[in-house]
Each structure stands twice: as C-alpha cells, then as structure tokens.
C-alpha cells in the first residue's frame, strides 16, 4: 500500500478527469489521477474534436448550447495553440426542412450562440468545395481542437501543480471504511501489481465507464454508453467546419483537423463501451452524407473509420439523439448516503473545464479549500505565447513546414523539445513524414507526457495518423521507445503487433483505391521483408 495519502483521487483520464485534476491541484489539493490505459483513450481520444459554438445544440438542447458558447471563448484563450479557430457554417441542402433555419436563429439568440447569416454566393466563394445547391448559410464560431492534446496538456498542468498522474493503472475496486469511500484498489498494467491508494475523496470521472465505477460503490448513475462512428479523409477539403441545418442526424458534420478532415457521426446506444466498433453500413452512411455536403469527398481518399462511446446521461431505452449533452455532478453523500465519493457524467469534451469547475467547487467545499477556480484564466502549457514559425524554424534549422507542425501540436512546448536538437542534431530527423514529426518530439512525448507505447505516442504526436497509417513510422517509433526507455523487446514486439492491428481495424472498412494499395505495401514491408507474420502471427 502506498503510504502517501492524497486529498483527491480522480478516476479516468479523459477530458473530464484531467480537467478535474488540473482544477483541484491548482486550488492546492494533492491529487492522484488514475487512468486504466492512456490519458485520452476513451471518448476524448476518439471524438470529433469540435470546439462547439453551441450552434449544433441551439434548437434541441439549449442548456448544452449555452455551456458550449461560453467555453468556446475560454478555450480559445487558454488552449489557443491547439485550437484551429476556423469558424463554422450551418448549411441547408434540400431536403433539409426550411423552417429549421428560423428555429436555429431563435435558438441561437436565446442561448447566446454567436451567428450571422451569409449569402450563398459569399459562402461558395469562401468554400468552393461546398455543394452548390445550398439554400441558406449561417456562420457560427465553431472551431477545431485537438482533443487528445487537450487532455494531455491538462494532465501536464496538473502535474506541474503537484498532481500525480498514473496511466495504465485500472481501478478495480473501491476501499471502504463503513459507508465512507476511503480509497481505491487498482491494477497496474505495466507491473502486473495490485496497488492501493487512499484519499479524502474519490472522484469518478470515468466517462462511459462511470456506471461501472459507481456500481463498485453499490450506487446507480444513469450513464448510457452511446456510440458514434467517424470517418477520416486524407485532405482537409473545407476551410470551415460545416454542419447541416437540420436536427442532428448521422453524417452531418465535416471537421477539418490537422492534415485531415473528419466526417461524423452516428449515435447508437451500446451495452458495452469497450465494444464501440465502426461498421461498414455506418461508414457508407457517413460517406454519402459527406458527399452531399461537399461532392469532392467522393474522390478523396478515405484513411480509416473509428468509433467512440459517449458518456450520456439518460434513461435506458431513450434514443441517444434525444438525450441532452449537458452534464451532471452526483454527490453520493447526498443521494446515496455514501461519503467521500462523487461522480460526474455527460457533457462534452469542450465543456470539460466548466464541468470540472462545478465538480471541483463541490469537492473543494468538502475539503475546506478556499482558493478560487483559476482554470479559465491560466493558459495551458504551451499556450503562454504565440509561436513565430519563422523564428522557430530559424532557431533550430528546421524547414518551416516542420516547425509549423510542431508548433500546432505543442505551442511553446516545441522550444523545450527542440532545444535538445542543439546537442543531438540527429533528433531533428523526421520519424513520420506524413505528419512531419521529428525524433525530438517523440522523445519528449515519451519522457515528459507518460507515453509508454506506440499508440500513446500517436495520441500526442499524430504519428500513425497520416496517409500511410503507420506503414513507415510504426517500427521507427517502437525502436525509439526501446532505445530510450529500455522497454523489453518482447513487449515492444507486442506493441508493434497491437499498433498495426489497431490501425488495420479502422482501415479495413475502407480498403479500396489507394488505401488498399497502401495496405498491400504495408504487408510487403512488415511481412515479406520483415517476416513479422511468422514472428507474431503463429
């Protein structure tokens, strides 16, 4: 048993849990965060990455719309380096119901969502790839945000405020003293050990898995795991986020993201959040819907499909689209007479900070902490200053494109890892030429941000996420992990197998044209040349 006693244990490592760890540690609490896999592995790591303006919920879900509209402004400030402030369009394409536009205007006004109508000509000038049949267009303040980096930076900030972040550590039970939760029992996947930790308060922020954690305390919270499937295409295609001007349905958003665009999304209640897989019919639906918005998608290469479980709060039997996207804090002392245990569910990735503030207010009260919430004023690591690409490139002798990618992924933190290249120039070499990732960046991800395997590095650096889907970089990243950390080679081989298999799973749904050709080459490299099928497959 660890002898150290924490003020708070936060269970989970998504946007919600990391935001809570950041908030409470900034208020002076001693925090331990436990995530069973990697920090943004749940819904956060696989969501759409929309920095919502609130427009999407203005009609059906005013509470959530208001929250989004507020947080949008905050994140543009505190996370500016990972936000792409693109702006969004809501477009109506026949047969979208014309009367929805009026409801949209009304909803935006009521909820404080910024918007204005544009002429169709104006919109087509800005977005030549849009369907020329659009009837009406509204501009809103949507943006894109890197959701994985968002969670990691919040964890990094928490760590800077003395929080302890433990990944690959799964909570398997709660520890009780009578009716009071006094800690957790956790399985450490890296060491194979069962560990125990104690704290004044245990916070259940396990997203779609929160119901399972609550059950460990014998209480029920109405979390409905709800699956969304998304499709990634090779080009950004559009300059803005584009939504359909109708009630949210399957495949009505395209979000440009880093070097790609993401088409989303479905909404299907599922029993087991760990079994949220994309299916071919969903992919087809998404593809057709995206072609309707931007016909160019028809010719654009699809890289892969993936799915994630939303932690919606609702009742069993209600369709996912009908459930509000707002959040709820559960004080189990009040509702279930169990002390030292609070849960949170619902919400969005982009409202995580607000969710954390509400929950932390409650926890701070219980702990007697007086310090006010500062999460909306303090910048996240890397957002302290604007990065000048030209001078970054010049300082370290990089191509502008390489410097630009590093800065969009890390902001001013790029200076930290590029500093190492002064002594070790070989760290400037690119490990991934799709997303322009230097070895220095990967080293930083491993040494400073809790990445222990290839997939962890992917979430931080976008390796494996580009056009070749890990063909050229998977083994290179694996090799760096082995070289830098001495991780045993058997484990490294397992990592390679897992990373390639995981990519394959999403690629398989879209095996045609160049993506199938790429797969053929990938097998040539790993199996014909490397003979890895015989090493791993038997």
């Amino acid at each position: 048993m660890s002898s150290e006693k924490f003020d708070v244990i936060v269970i989970g490592g998504g946007s919600t849990a990391t935001a809570i760890a950041r908030d409470l540690s900034m208020r002076g609490a001693r925090v331990l965060l436990l995530e069973r896999h990697d920090i943004p592995l749940g819904a956060t790591g696989r969501c759409h990455g929309m920095l919502h303006s609130g427009g999407r919920y203005a009609v059906k879900d005013p509470e959530s719309a208001t929250e989004c509209a507020k947080e949008n402004k905050v994140l543009r400030r505190i996370a500016r380096h990972i936000v792409e402030p693109l702006g969004g369009y809501f477009v109506s394409i026949p047969p979208d119901p014309p009367e929805f536009a009026d409801k949209f205007v009304e909803g935006c006004k009521k909820t404080g969502v910024e918007f204005h109508e544009m002429t169709v000509e104006e919109a087509l000038r800005e977005e030549p790839n849009l369907n020329p049949n659009i009837q009406r267009v509204f501009w809103v303040n949507d943006g894109a945000i890197d959701p994985m980096k968002f969670a990691i930076l919040m964890a990094l900030d928490a760590a800077r405020n003395n929080a302890v972040i433990k990944t690959h550590t799964e909570v398997i039970d709660l520890l009780f003293d009578g009716k009071t939760v006094e800690g957790v029992k956790a399985y450490n996947h890296l060491t194979g050990q069962v560990e125990r930790y104690k704290a004044e308060i245990v916070v259940n922020a396990a997203g779609a898995w929160a119901g399972e954690i609550a059950a460990m305390a014998g209480v029920y919270i109405p979390i409905v795991p709800n699956k969304g499937t998304m499709v990634v295409i090779q080009k950004r295609v559009l300059n803005h986020l584009v939504n359909r001007l109708r009630r949210p349905t399957d495949g009505d958003i395209i979000v440009p993201h880093h070097t790609t665009a993401i088409i989303g999304t479905t909404s299907i209640n599922v029993d087991d959040p760990d079994k949220a897989y994309p299916t071919k019919p969903e992919v087809v639906k998404m593809f057709k819907a995206a072609v309707e918005i931007a016909p160019i998608v028809k010719k654009t290469r699809i890289l892969r499909a993936y799915a994630a479980p939303r932690p919606l709060i609702g009742a069993v039997g209600v369709s996912g689209r009908e459930i509000s996207r707002t959040f709820k804090v559960f004080d189990h002392e009040e509702t279930d007479n169990i002390e030292g245990f609070v849960s949170i569910g619902g919400g969005k990735m982009c409202t995580a900070r607000l969710m954390a503030e509400k929950l932390s207010d409650l926890v701070a009260r219980k702990l007697g902490l007086r310090a006010p919430c500062r999460t909306h004023v303090e910048p996240l690591p890397g957002a302290e200053d604007e990065v000048d690409i030209q001078s970054l490139a010049r300082k370290y002798g990089l191509y502008n494109s390489v410097a630009a990618r590093a800065a969009t992924r890390w902001g001013t933190l790029a200076y930290e890892f590029l500093d190492e290249t002064v002594k070790k120039p070989e760290l400037k070499a690119l490990v991934c030429t799709c997303e322009l990732v230097t070895a220095a960046e990967i080293k930083y991800a491993i040494e400073k941000t809790w990445a222990v395997d290839i997939i962890d590095v992917r979430r931080r650096c976008r390796t494996l996420m580009g056009t070749c889907q890990g063909q050229n970089c998977t083994y290179k990243v694996a090799a760096l992990i082995h070289e830098l950390t001495g991780k045993p080679i058997e484990k490294i081989l397992d990592d390679i197998a897992l990373a390639i298999r995981y990519r394959w799973f999403g690629e398989r749904e879209v095996f045609y044209r160049d993506q199938l050709r790429q797969a053929a080459l990938k097998l040539g490299i790993y199996n014909t040349l490397g003979n890895l099928d015989r090493l791993m497959g038997m």
Binding site: K280, V283, V284, F287, K288, G397, L398, V402, T421, P425, E426, K428, A429, L430, V431, T433, T438, A439, N472, Y475, K476, A478, A479, H482, E483, I489, E490, I492, L493, I500, R501, W504, F505, R508, V510, F511, Y512, R513, L516, R517, A519, A520, L521, K522, L523, G524, I525, Y526, N527, T528, L529, G530, N531, L532, D533, R534, L535, M536, G537, M538
Partner: protein, 444 residues
C-alpha cells in the same frame, strides 16, 4: 502519333516483364517493353525468394521445394503448379530452368541457390528465409557459424535502428538456438547529413558518392571496427550505385572485417540496384523500353491487334499517342502496388477490382478481402486477387477458356498466391516470366 512495330510487346518493366523480355531477346525475338512507371520490384529488398512458407503449415520450407508436397494439397492453382502443369516435379524443373536462364547481370548481382533457403538478417532484426541475396547482402546471411556482428545504424536514418534491431536479432537467434551468434548495436554519422530532416537512403547514397564524404565515413567505420573488433559490420542498404558497391571492398580492407547490408524498407539500395540491373539487361539485349500511360487495347476476333497509349516526352509538352503493334503480348503489370490491378468503389462503397489494361476476368477469393489480422500467416484475400492463367501462361476466363490467343501473362498480376505469406514473390515473377517466353518461343 508514334507507331512502334515489334514481334512481342511486354507490358511492365519489373522482374516478370524483364524476365520474359530477356528470355525472348536472347532467342532472337524482337521485343519491346512499355510501362507507365516502376513497380514493386524497385521497392523490394531485391532478394530472390522461391518459397519460404506454406500458409497452412508451420515452419520454413527447407529446401524451398520441400514445400511443394503441401502446396499440391493446399493450393493446386498456385502459379508454380500451373507453370508445372499441375505436377510438382515439373514445377521444380521449370523453376530451376528459369533461374538458370536469368540474365547474366542479374545472376552476377546475387549469390545463393534454388536448392536452399538461407536466413538473412533484416533491418528489423528478424531473420527471413530466401534463396538468393544480392552480394552486398551476403554478410547478412546467418550461416550458423560463430560470429560477432556489429549492426551499425546511421544517425538520423531510422530505417535501421541498431539498438532495436539487435535486441530483436538476439531474441530471434536465441529462439533458434543460435544465441552464440552475437549481434551488437553501433552508430556512425555522416557528417554533412547531421541535422538533416528528410534523411532517406537515396540521399545517403548521393552524399557517399562524394569522395570526401566517403573518406570521412570510412574513418568512422574504421574507428568503430578497431574498438569493437567484429567479424562483420552490417549497415542499412545504402550503397545504391555500382561505384558504391565497388567501394564496399575498400571499406572491408580498411576495417579488416566483412562489410554488408541488411534488407531495408523502401526505397532501399538493394531494390534500386535490382531495378537498375533490369534496366541494364534491356539495354544490353537491345530491348527498347517505352514510357506510356492509359494503355488501351484494340482487339479483333479474339486477337490483340494493337495497344494505344499516351506519352509525354517532357512534363510540359503535349501528350502524344503512341501505338504498339505486335504479334504477341505479355502482360506483366504487377498487382495492386504496381497497378496491374486497381480497386474502385461505387456509391455504396462496394468494391470492384479491375485488371487495368485488358479488363481481364479476375480470380477473387470468396469472403472478406482482408482478415482482421494483418499478421495472419495465412495471408489476405486481396493479395491473392489476380488473373487466371493456363499452363502456357495465357489468361483464361473462369471456365478455363483462353481470352486472347496472342496474350500471355507473368508475375504478380497472376492470382492465387500471396507472396507476403509465402515469401515467393520474385520466384513467381521469374518462373512465370520465363514460362510465358517459352510458350511464345514454342509458337514461332
């Protein structure tokens, strides 16, 4: 419009196309090649595999032909067996004959034997079975004798990470009771590439072509050899040109140990060397090679009359039509990678495979085109997609009828096998290329 008349037109300039063309040219046939680009051959590691594994069977095929007794049971349509008219003994003979008939430039580039699979150490640190390796890769063959190998990476060139690869190598060797073969990691740097961002093998090669750079590199290697005193130094496959291969001897003399390359992912020197050697074969034998795209056949009465293509001599010049008229045609356009086959989709994302020149009927295995496991040792259905041929290497339809009387095929455009799973890519290309040529010769 340009018009090219030739006795045989070969489409594709990879291993299969050049094997067919050179066999014909050596027998006095007037041959022309047309291709739109380079294919898989140039991306390969240039080893000539015959047969490493049978998908359903554990363990390596040693010697390669020992696998045929399984092949006749598991896959009667394998191109080797088709070439041997269904008889494994005949298949062996035709493979031996084909490898015997390899053009001199290709023979001189390689060492090995059709009767034996050697284990060659790769840039992943794994061992893979193959029948022939290029001479610069010979030191990477693990013979089973006691030796100390210094696996040496170039700083910043991540295609070979020596620390990673030697860990895998030691694990792999131990599992084969060869733990007494020692593989140790080391690094050298190439001075003018320090801090380079796009460090790729062609760039390394270009830099090493400069004498001053090469001498620096040599000095570093000598230092390393003095310190570690290895039997063998293995580097990534970086010696792209004949001049550099020549200079490897100079390195050996200076380091007083063997210097070799390991097979390395594309673009590696060994793949480029093989493709260059194939190009040389063509020029030596007087085979004209044309570059053209959008090839469209014209057929009459079950006979291919001519093929019309598009050609640009320079990037900005106008595209011109080029017409090839031949008595016989050989289709050697490769698979999905070489683009002898493409896969398109309709609005519902239903896939449709197509042979790109003649729209020939394709063999498409039943079931999903890919399994859920990329490391499935049984391979993937999409790799097995290709055309059907008869024992004369003539494309046939599903009923076995010859599609065009004067059309033959060779290489990975042929279906019913998976070279990733079987490790047999070049062997099939060489054998079927040879057999296609023989069929044409027998019809003269």
């Amino acid at each position: 419009m340009i018009k090219v008349e030739t006795e045989v037109l070969v489409i594709g300039r990879g291993m299969a196309g050049v094997m067919a063309a050179s066999t014909l040219a050596k027998n006095g046939v007037d041959v022309t090649i047309v291709a739109k680009s380079y294919g898989t051959t140039a991306l390969s590691s240039g080893c000539l595999d015959i047969l490493g594994y049978i998908p359903e069977v554990q363990g390596v095929a040693q010697p390669p032909f020992s696998g045929f007794k399984y092949l006749v049971v598991s896959n009667r349509n394998h191109p080797y067996l088709i070439a041997g008219e269904g008889d494994p003994k005949k298949a062996e003979d035709i493979i031996r004959e084909a490898f015997d008939s390899l053009p001199e430039q290709i023979k001189n580039l390689h060492v090995g034997s059709v009767e034996n699979n050697s284990w060659v150490l790769t840039s992943f640190g794994t061992l893979r079975p193959t029948a022939f390796v290029q001479k610069p890769l010979e030191p990477a063959i693990i013979t089973g004798e006691k030796e100390s190998i210094l696996l040496t990476g170039i700083k910043g060139l991540f295609e070979l990470n020596p620390v990673f690869a030697s860990s895998i190598a030691m694990k792999d060797l131990k599992s084969r009771s060869l733990g007494y073969v020692k593989v140790k990691p080391a690094y050298v740097s190439i001075r003018s590439l320090e801090g380079a961002q796009y460090l790729a093998i062609p760039l390394v090669s270009t830099v090493l072509e400069e004498d001053e750079e090469f001498d620096e590199f040599k000095k570093e290697l000598v230092k390393l050899a003095k310190r570690e005193n290895p039997d063998t130094i293995l580097l990534p496959s970086i010696f792209s040109t004949p001049n550099l291969v020549e200079k490897m001897k100079e390195l050996e003399d200076a380091c007083k140990c063997r210097i070799g390359e390991v097979p390395t992912p594309p673009e590696s020197a060994s793949g480029l060397r093989l493709q260059r050697a194939l190009n040389n074969v063509c020029s030596t034998l007087g085979i004209k090679v044309f570059h053209a795209t959008d090839l469209k056949p014209e057929v009459e009465n079950g006979i291919v009359k001519r093929i019309v293509g598009t050609r640009r001599t320079l990037l900005f010049t106008e595209a011109r039509k080029i017409v090839f008229e031949a008595e016989k045609y050989v289709l050697a356009t490769g698979d999905l990678i070489g683009e002898g086959i493409t896969c398109d989709v309709d609005e519902e994302l239903n896939v449709a495979f197509r042979e790109t020149v003649f729209d020939l009927p394709l063999y498409i295995p039943e079931g999903p085109i890919a399994t859920t496991d990329p490391f499935n040792p049984a391979g993937q259905n999409f790799s097995k997609i290709g055309i059907n041929v008869n024992s004369e290497m003539q494309p046939v339809d599903s009923a076995g009828r010859v599609v065009y009387e004067n059309l033959f095929a060779a290489g990975s455009i042929i279906g019913h096998y998976d070279y990733n799973a079987e490790k047999c890519g070049m062997g099939v290309a060489i054998t079927t290329g040879y057999k296609a040529a023989k069929s044409i010769l027998s019809r003269r």
